[in-house]
Structure formats: C-alpha cells, structure tokens
C-alpha cells in the first residue's frame, strides 16, 4: 500500500509542477488579482480625480463677460479658449482675483511670429516689420483680431467718425467700447471704404 501512496504523491507533485510551469504569473493574472496596483489604488485614483481644476471653460466666462464673449464667439479667435491667453482662471471665477494678460508683442508672437515650422496657412507676421513697434492690441482687438467691417459710405463731409459712431448707439452707429477715444485718422487704418 505504501508504495502506491509514494507514487501518488510523486505524481501529484509532478502534475502541480507542470501546471505551474505552464501558467507563469502572467501580467493579466497579476492585474486581475490586484497585484499590479498598490492596495490603495482605488482610493488613489479618487485622489487624482479630485484634484482642483485651474483652467475654466469659456462657457463659465460667459455669464459675467457677455459682450466680450459675444465678440470672441464670432471672431477668428473663437478656437482660442479664454484660458489660453488669460491663464488659470478658476481663482478669478471664485474670488474675483485680477487676471493680468501679457499685452506685449512677444506674447502675440508666441503664435503669430513668423516661423518656418508653422503651417503655411496660419497667419504669421514678421515682428520686426509689422505695424512698427506698437503693441498688437493697438490695432487688433484680441477678441476680434481681424480688421473691422468696411465703411459702406463716402467719408467726405462726414468727419469726425465719432460724430455719428457713439458708444451705446444702435447698429450701425455703435462704437465698440474698445474703440473709445480713437481719432478719425486711426479709424481709417483698419476700416477701408468700399
């Protein structure tokens, strides 16, 4: 009888050894059994998920900055999120902390300075030539960077522009807030007659 037990034990061990050899601890097995994660992985994922948000979406800017949002939405810059230029905006939304925007030529140049590596159809200018050395925002409204509509009437006898185009007036007489204080010779730099 004893020799049967010995042989059975030997076989059993062989079978076990072979089965173990056939199924090495694969990564799947480890992942399933949770060995690939620290014990606290679930809690840790929650920790990552609950990190504070810094950059808000433009839709959150809309409720306060109605005019700016409307102008931006229609402009060539509508693909550029508010936060892209204004930076992390959560603090501003929550506590009204002031947002400072870099208005230097170099800041606009981050995107629009001439660069051979940029897609050819992307609007680029030579910063050393374009518009003298004035700040870009002197002529371009960052929320509507393309130049304004053409003037549908003759200019003779109608100067100054601000005689008719007044802040708060109805279209087409409205003068955008960003334009207040501009003299007639500045108007013609961007707005051409038809």
């Amino acid at each position: 009888m004893r020799h049967f037990i010995r042989a059975a034990a030997l076989l059993g061990m062989l079978v076990l050894a072979f089965a173990l050899f056939r199924s090495p601890p694969s990564t799947n097995l480890l992942a399933k059994s949770g060995l690939f994660q620290a014990n606290s992985a679930g809690a840790n994922a929650l920790k990552w998920a609950s990190m504070p948000v810094g950059l808000v979406r433009p839709s959150e800017c809309q409720s306060c900055h109605v005019k700016e949002f409307q102008a931006w939405e229609k402009s060539a810059h509508s693909t550029v999120s508010c936060a892209s230029c204004h930076g992390p905006t959560r603090e501003h939304v929550e506590s009204g902390a002031e947002l400072v925007v870099d208005a230097s030529r170099d800041f606009c140049g981050l995107c629009h300075a001439q660069q051979v590596s940029r897609p050819r159809d992307f609007p680029q200018v030579d910063l050393t030539q374009h518009g003298g050395q004035a700040q870009c925002v002197t002529c371009h409204d960052p929320r509507a960077p393309k130049f304004g509509p053409r003037i549908p009437h003759v200019l003779e006898g109608r100067y100054p522009c601000s005689g008719c185009h007044i802040p708060g007036a109805k279209e087409p007489y409205e003068l955008p807030d960003s334009h207040i204080g501009r003299t007639s010779d500045i108007c013609s730099k961007c707005h051409e007659t038809e």
Binding site: H3, F4, L35, W48, G87, S117, R118
Partner: protein, 268 residues
C-alpha cells in the same frame, strides 16, 4: 489487487495529462495568442474608452499647452520639469533630422525665425506635441517594484505617490520620456509629494468631470484632441474614422493611446 505499479503510474499519468491539458487550454485562445496585454482583462469588461489625438499639421509651437499643464497640475517650475512638451522637427534636404524643444517649448519657438538652422536646406519642418501615451501595455507599470503605478479602468496610468519610493525605474523604463522626478526640494508639486515619480494623467481630475485636459483646452488651433471613443460623434472618434493616424515607436509593442495625424518618418 489487480493493479501493478506500472499500470498505476500509466493511469495516473493519463489523468494528469488530461488535467493539465484542460488547464492549459485557455492559454491558447486566439485572443491571447494575438495580443496579450496587461489590461486585456479590464478591456473586455469596461473597455478603454479614452483616446488622445495630436495633429502635427495644425500645431504652431506656441507652447500654451505646456504653460497650461504646468499651471493646472502644479508641475514644479524650478528646476524645470514638465508633463508635456512640444518638439520642433527640422528635416534637411539630405535627410538629417534635428529635434529641439527649448524649455519644453513653454516659451514658444519665437525669436528670429529659423536662426538656429541658418544655412540649412530644409526639406520639412513641423511641431510635434508630446505627452504620456497611456500605453495599453505600459513598461513603466511592469517595472515598478512597489506597485505604485497602475492603470485605471479608463486606461490612464496613474502614480500612487504615497506608495512611490522614488527609485526612478519607471522613468528609465518609459521609451517616450514621459515621466519625471518631482525634485526633492520642489516648492510646488502636483500632490504635495516630492521626490516621487510624476507623469501626465490626461488631467484625470478634469476628464473625470467631463472636461477636456488643460492642454487641449489651452490649444488655440485644435492640434490636441481628447475624447471618448464610445461617443461616435465625438471629435476623436471622427478623426479615428476619417484620418490616417500613427503611433510613436509602434515596434516596441507598448500600444500607445495617443494618436498622431501627419506623423513623418523619423519622428520618435
């Protein structure tokens, strides 16, 4: 007893053979043979729905993504570390490839256009945004000796910085250079922990809330896209359907989930 020792051993071997064969059969199912992977089990259950697309034909190298990422995730500014970066590729007429990424591209590539490559006959040049590929077969996860890094059910690789011992093995293991060490004396850090490994999480805190990652939000030209592949009308699903997309270092078998449009030969 009508059983000899020989008969017993032969019979036993037959039984053992049958047991082992049944046990081993699942190892040879087509799915396993075709593509074994860390997350396959999870993938079947929940799927890895999130994907990221970088469009190198749109990227203008402004670096707003890098700035946004660093602000959003409190990535230490000094010494310079980053979770995402932009590379400028310049391929010359005689086939040489030059890559640069000054300060990870966070200050843009402006300045004298092309001064660095003056005199070089350029055949092709473009920008390539880089970030963690959230590989489906992640080498960084495999090598971690303390199991501090893992894949979530959405397919994002995260680091449990409470468990990380800072051995840097994962930083060595990542073929894309997507991981970095939070400097031991950093004043700001993503979780407040320093001296630990950190990496892009695809802004897990934003994407879990249904928002786009900070770099996607900040990109002015739509060169970065993030989406859920379960949403067939989503931007990423559309791109995956309509465009030819490429992945980085495919031969390594890491199965990245960041897909590139317009990738040129020579981009690594």
């Amino acid at each position: 007893m009508g059983l000899t020792r020989r008969q017993f051993i032969l019979g036993g071997a037959a039984v053992a053979g049958a047991v082992v064969a049944t046990r081993a059969l699942p190892l040879f199912t087509p799915a396993r043979v075709a593509g074994k992977g860390l997350a396959q089990a999870d993938q079947k259950e929940a799927g890895h729905p999130w994907a990221f697309v970088c469009d190198t034909t749109k990227c203008i190298g402004c670096g707003r993504c890098v700035v946004a990422c660093k602000a959003e995730n409190r990535v230490p500014p000094e010494p310079h570390t980053t979770r995402t970066w932009v590379e400028r590729y310049v391929i010359s007429q005689n086939g040489e490839t030059f890559v640069d990424s000054p300060n990870s591209g966070m200050n843009g590539f402006s300045g004298p256009a092309n001064a660095k490559y003056e005199g070089l006959e350029i055949k092709k040049t473009f920008f390539v945004p880089k970030l963690c590929n959230q590989c489906d077969n992640p080498p960084c996860v495999r090598v971690c000796p303390v199991a501090a890094t893992y894949m979530t059910k959405e397919g994002v690789i995260l680091v449990d910085q409470d468990s990380c011992v800072g051995c840097r093995y994962c930083i060595q293991a990542c073929p894309y250079g997507a991981r970095y060490m939070v400097p031991p004396h950093a004043e700001v850090s993503p979780t407040g922990q320093t001296g630990v490994a950190d990496k892009c999480t695809w802004c897990y805190h934003r994407t879990s809330r249904g928002m786009a990652p900070a770099c996607v939000e900040a990109c002015p030209v739509g060169a970065r896209m993030f989406g859920d592949l379960r949403d067939p009308s989503g931007a990423v699903s559309q791109v995956m359907k309509d465009q030819r997309v490429y992945i980085l270092k495919e031969a390594l078998g890491t199965r990245p989930k960041v897909y590139y449009i317009g990738l040129e030969e020579g981009v690594r």
